[in-house]
Amino acid sequence: MPTTLTVNGTEYQVDLPDDVPLLWVLRDELGLTGTKYGCGVASCGSCTVHIDGEAMRACQVALADVWGPVTTIEGLGTPNALHAVQQAWVEHQVAQCGYCQSGQIMQAAALLSKTPNPSDEEIDLAMSGNLCRCGTYPRIRAAIHAAADALGREG
C-alpha cells in the first residue's frame, strides 16, 4: 500500500517498502536532490531535513515512521526567495564545494527557530553533528549570527 507523505507542502503517494529511509525517498523517488547523502549512519548531517519543524537526519527515519510534514532545503527558500539563513550564507560566501551546506543550513534554520539569538556554545552544540570536509566552519558560525540578527530585525 502506498505511503502518504507531505513534503514542502505537497502530498505524495510513495510506493516503496516501509523501511526505505526518508533520504532515499526524497532523492530517488521524489527527485528532491537538495538533501544529500554523506554517511547513512547519522554521523555527517548532510541529510538534515525538518520533520514537523524539528531537524532530523533523513537517513535515519524510515518511510513508515515519518510522523509529520517534511521540509527540505528546496522548501526552505528558493534562489529567488531566499530564507534568512540562506541569505546570510550567500552574504558570508560560506560554501566551498557546497555539498554539506543543505544540511548545515537546515540545521541552522532549526536552531534559530527554537533559539533566536544563540550563543557560540549553543551554536557549537547544535552544529556539531554536521561535518564539512572543506572546513567552512568559521563562516558558518558568522552566518548563523548574521541570520539571527536579520531574523531579530524582521522580528
Binding site: S43, W89, D124
Partner: protein, 749 residues
C-alpha cells in the same frame, strides 16, 4: 541553443545557466594548433573556446572542476575583467572535455627543480614541459594550478575578444577604432552610440582576431584583486547546485557496487540468489572485479549489494599496516631514487665537540580523501555511444578510460562535468567512471546512476601513502649548519602516472620529496634523498601530495633543532629563511605579529609554528592549544601566505582556513589502517574530522610581495600539521613523532 557537437542540454545547465542562442569566441593563440571544441549551430560563429555571447549576456567557460576552490568565480573574473562585461551578466559553465583546455602549469610543476629559485635554464625547461600536456589534452584540475595556468591565458582571451568586438563596431559604424571604448558588455562610440556585444558578435566572429593586445594595468582592475560574489553561491545555498549524485535522467535506475576490500585482489566467485529476490532489485551485474546491483532505489540497491555472497582473492600487499610500515622504514636504507638537494658537503662535515648533533625518525599513516560526496557516476550506453555525468577533475582521462572499458571509440564517449562535492585529488581518478560505464553497458539504453556507499568510498580510495623519514641535523653556535633528510614512501607519481598514461616515469620523483628538499632555508649543508618503497596499495594525489608528509617531517625536525639549542622556534626559522627567500621570512614575520608571538606561553597553553613553501606559495601557521582537563583543545590558528597577486581575497581566505582545518583534522585524528589486507575504517565515526565546535578560530593574512602567482588550494595543509605537533610539544614537553597525534593524547571531541 548552439549545437556544441556532442554536448547535450544537460551540460549547459551547470550553475543553473542555460544558453539560448549565442556566439562562441575563438581561441586567441592556439587557434591553429588546437580545435575549438565549441561548435556553433545555425547563424552562429566561433572565435574562442572561453567565451559565448548571446542575447542574455555572456557565458564564460571555466573548464576546470569546481570543487569548492572557486574556479567558477576566479577564472571567469579573469576573462570578464578584460572583456569588459558586467558581473551580473556573467554565467559560467564547465564546457566540454577538450584539448583546448589543457593545463600547462600542472606539468611544469612536476619538474625536479626548486620553484623559488628559478633560473633562465629552468624557464626553458618549463616551456618545454608545456608541450606534453598539450599533446595529451591534460585538462586536469590539480596541483593548485588552475589560476596560475589561467592568469595570462584567460585575460588574453577576454582582451582579444573585446578588441575584435571593437573592430566589428568600427566597421559597422565606419568610425576609427581608436575612437571606441567598451563598458559593461557594450562598445561605446562618440555621440552617445552604444552597441551591445550581442549585436556585434556574429560579425566579430568573421574577423581575424588581433595577434597581440595589451592587457589592462592592474591599477585599473575592476574585478581582479577584489572578493567577487561567487557565481555558485546561491545554487549551493538552495540545494539547486547539481552534483554528480544529483543527476537525473528519464527512466534512470540506481545502482550500488561492491569491490574487493582487499584492494587489487580479484573476485573468485559470487552468489546473488538472495539479492536478486530482494525488493526493487532489477539486476545483479558481474563486473569481474566486483558486482553491481541495479534497482529502482539507491538504498534498496545497497541493501541487496550487501546480501550478495562474494568470495574475494587475497590482496597483493602485506596484511597489516604495521607490516607495511616496516617495508617503508626499511626503504630508508635503499638506494635513493632522488637526491634533489645536496648543498655543501655533508660527507666532509667535521663535527666539533661543541656542535650539537641530533637525529629523529618520524612516520605518518595512510589517509583517505573522504570527500563529502561519495564517488558516483551516471552513465547511459546507447550501443554506439556513451554519455557520462560525473564530478571529474580529469574528464579527458575519464573519457579515454571509459571508452577502453566498453570498447568504444573515445570520440563516442562524452563526459559531462557537474559540481564536485569535494575533490582533493580523489576525483582525478577514473575508477568510478569506468565502473559506471560497465554497468551502463550491461543495462544498454537505460541510464544508471552508480553510487558508492560511504563504506565503499572509505575502503576503496587511492590513499595518501604512509611515509617515514629519518632526519639528522647539526647545530653550530645556535644555527643549523647541516640537515640531512631521508624520506621513504611508495611513489604516488609513478603509480598514478602508470594508471593515467600507462607509463611509469623513471628518474627522480619530485613529488616524493617536495616539502623537504625545496624549503627556503639557508642551511649550508642540506641534503635530501627520496627512497621509494615497493608496496601495491592503491595511492593517489591527496591535497598537497608529498608536502602533506614532508611538511610534517621537515618542520617537526626544524623545531627539534631549535629546541636542541634552546632557541625560539620562530626566530630560529627566521634566521634561516631571511638569508634565502624574502617572501618566506615575510610570512613568518606576519604570523609572529598576528599572534603576538613572544616565545613564551602560560601554563596550560602551547603554541607552535611552521613554514612550508609549496605550490609556489609560502605559508606560515601558528597554532595555539590549551589543556582542557586532560584533553587538548585546538583554540586558535594564525595563517599568513604570500600569493604574489591576490586575485580574489575572500576565496584565498577560505582556501587557507579550509586547508588548515583539513590538515589539523588529519594530524589530530585521521588514520587508515589495514588488518587482514582490508582497510579497518568504514565510515566517519572511525575517520572523523574537526567539526564546528572543535575547530580553531582562524585569522588569515594575505601578502603580495613575491613576483609570481602562487597556488592557494593546497599550501595551507602542510604547515598546519607540524604547527599542531609543535604546539603540543610546547604544551606538554613531549615530542610526538608519529601521526595521528590522538594515538598519544586525547583531543576535545
Amino acid at each position: 541553443m548552439p549545437n556544441w557537437g556532442k554536448i547535450t542540454r544537460r551540460t549547459l545547465l551547470v550553475g543553473s545557466a542555460a544558453i539560448a542562442g549565442g556566439v562562441a569566441f575563438g581561441v586567441w593563440q592556439y587557434r591553429r594548433d588546437l580545435p575549438n571544441p565549441l561548435q556553433p549551430g545555425d547563424g552562429q560563429a566561433t572565435l574562442n573556446p572561453w567565451i559565448l555571447i548571446d542575447q542574455d549576456g555572456v557565458t564564460l567557460i571555466a573548464a576546470r572542476a569546481e570543487m569548492g576552490q572557486g574556479v567558477y568565480t576566479t577564472l571567469p573574473a579573469l576573462v570578464a575583467e578584460e572583456l569588459d562585461v558586467a558581473w551580473e551578466d556573467v554565467r559560467v559553465m564547465h564546457g566540454p572535455a577538450a584539448q583546448a583546455y589543457y593545463n600547462e602549469a600542472l606539468m611544469s610543476h612536476g619538474l625536479p627543480i626548486n620553484d623559488y629559485e628559478r633560473t633562465g635554464f629552468h624557464e626553458v625547461m618549463i616551456e618545454a614541459m608545456t608541450v606534453l600536456p598539450k599533446m595529451i589534452g591534460l585538462q586536469v584540475t590539480g596541483g593548485s594550478t588552475s589560476t596560475i595556468d589561467a592568469f595570462e591565458k584567460l585575460r588574453m582571451a577576454g582582451a582579444t575578444a573585446r578588441e575584435t568586438l571593437k573592430r566589428a563596431a568600427a566597421e559597422r559604424l565606419n568610425m576609427p577604432l581608436g575612437s571606441l571604448t567598451t563598458r559593461d558588455g557594450k562598445v561605446i562610440a562618440p555621440g552617445g552610440i552604444e552597441l551591445r556585444y550581442a549585436e556585434l558578435a556574429p560579425a566579430a566572429a568573421e574577423i581575424d582576431p588581433p595577434r597581440r593586445v595589451a592587457l589592462r594595468d592592474p591599477e585599473d582592475w575592476r574585478y581582479l584583486g577584489r572578493s567577487m560574489p561567487r557565481t555558485d553561491m546561491i545554487a549551493k545555498s538552495t540545494g539547486t547546485a547539481e552534483f554528480g549524485l544529483d543527476v537525473r535522467l528519464p527512466g534512470m535506475k540506481f545502482a550500488a557496487v561492491r569491490r574487493n576490500p582487499r584492494l587489487g585482489g580479484g573476485m573468485l566467485s559470487f552468489d546473488a540468489s538472495a539479492a536478486e529476490g530482494m525488493p526493487g532489485v532489477e539486476r545483479v551485474v558481474d563486473l569481474t572485479d566486483g558486482i553491481a546491483v541495479v534497482a529502482n532505489n539507491t538504498w534498496l540497491a545497497m541493501q541487496a549489494a550487501d546480501a550478495v555472497e562474494i568470495e574475494w582473492a587475497a590482496a597483493p600487499y602485506p596484511d597489516t599496516s604495521d607490516e607495511m610500515l616496516n617495508v617503508i622504514r626499511a626503504a630508508l636504507d635503499n638506494e635513493p631514487n632522488s637526491m634533489l638537494r645536496d648543498d655543501g658537503d655533508l660527507d666532509a662535515l667535521d663535527i666539533a665537540p661543541e656542535d650539537r648533533e641530533i637525529e629523529a625518525e618520524y612516520t605518518v599513516p595512510w589517509l583517505a580523501h573522504a570527500t563529502m560526496e561519495p564517488m558516483n557516476a551516471t552513465a547511459l550506453h546507447t550501443g554506439d555511444a556513451l554519455d557520462i555525468w560525473t564530478g571529474s577533475q580529469a574528464p579527458g582521462f575519464a573519457e579515454q578510460r571509459a571508452a577502453e572499458a566498453v570498447d568504444l571509440d573515445t570520440d563516442h564517449v562524452t563526459c559531462h562535468v557537474t559540481f564536485l562535492g569535494g575533490g582533493f585529488g580523489r576525483r582525478g581518478e577514473t575508477d568510478f567512471v569506468v565502473q559506471a560505464a560497465r554497468v551502463a553497458r550491461a543495462m544498454q539504453g537505460t541510464p544508471v546512476k552508480v553510487t558508492w556507499s560511504r563504506e565503499e568510498d572509505m575502503r576503496h580510495d587511492f590513499y595518501r601513502p604512509a611515509a617515514a623519514a629519518r632526519m639528522r641535523g647539526v647545530l653550530r653556535g645556535g644555527f643549523a649548519t647541516a640537515l640531512e633528510g631521508r624520506v621513504a614512501a611508495p611513489s604516488v607519481t609513478r603509480q598514478s602516472m602508470q594508471r593515467m598514461t600507462g607509463l611509469s616515469p623513471s628518474g627522480p620523483d619530485k613529488g616524493h620529496v617536495e616539502g623537504m628538499f625545496n624549503q627556503p632555508y639557508a642551511i649550508p649543508n642540506y641534503r635530501v634523498s627520496g627512497h621509494l618503497a615497493d608496496l601495491d596499495v592503491p595511492i593517489g594525489f591527496w591535497r598537497s601530495v608529498g608536502n602533506s608528509f614532508n611538511g610534517f617531517f621537515m618542520e617537526s625536525f626544524i623545531d627539534e633543532m631549535a629546541a636542541a639549542v634552546q632557541r625560539d622556534p620562530l626566530a630560529f626559522r627566521l634566521d634561516l629563511a631571511r638569508r634565502e627567500h624574502a617572501p618566506s621570512s615575510g610570512v613568518l614575520e606576519a604570523v609572529a605579529e598576528m599572534s603576538g608571538w613572544t616565545g613564551r606561553t602560560p601554563e596550560g597553553t602551547g603554541r607552535g609554528v611552521a613554514l612550508t613553501y609549496s605550490f609556489h606559495t609560502a605559508v606560515a601557521v601558528v597554532v595555539e592549544v590549551t589543556d582542557q582537563g586532560g584533553d587538548v583543545s585546538i583554540d586558535r590558528a594564525w595563517v599568513a601566505c604570500d600569493v604574489g597577486t591576490a586575485l580574489d581575497p575572500a576565496i584565498i581566505e577560505a582556501q587557507m582556513s579550509g586547508g588548515v582545518i583539513w590538515g589539523l583534522s588529519a594530524a589530530a585524528m585521521q588514520e587508515i589502517s589495514f588488518a587482514v589486507g582490508e582497510v579497518e575504517q568504514w565510515n566517519f565515526p572511525d575517520f572523523d574530522s574537526l567539526r564546528l565546535h572543535n575547530s580553531p578560530e582562524i585569522e588569515v593574512r594575505i601578502l603580495e610581495t613575491q613576483p609570481h602567482l602562487g597556488g592557494v588550494g593546497e599550501p595551507a595543509v602542510p604547515p598546519s600539521m607540524p604547527a599542531l605537533a609543535n604546539a603540543i610539544y610546547d604544551l606538554t614537553g613531549e615530542r610526538v613523532r608519529d601521526l595521528p597525534l590522538n594515538r598519544r593524547l586525547s583531543f576535545v571531541i
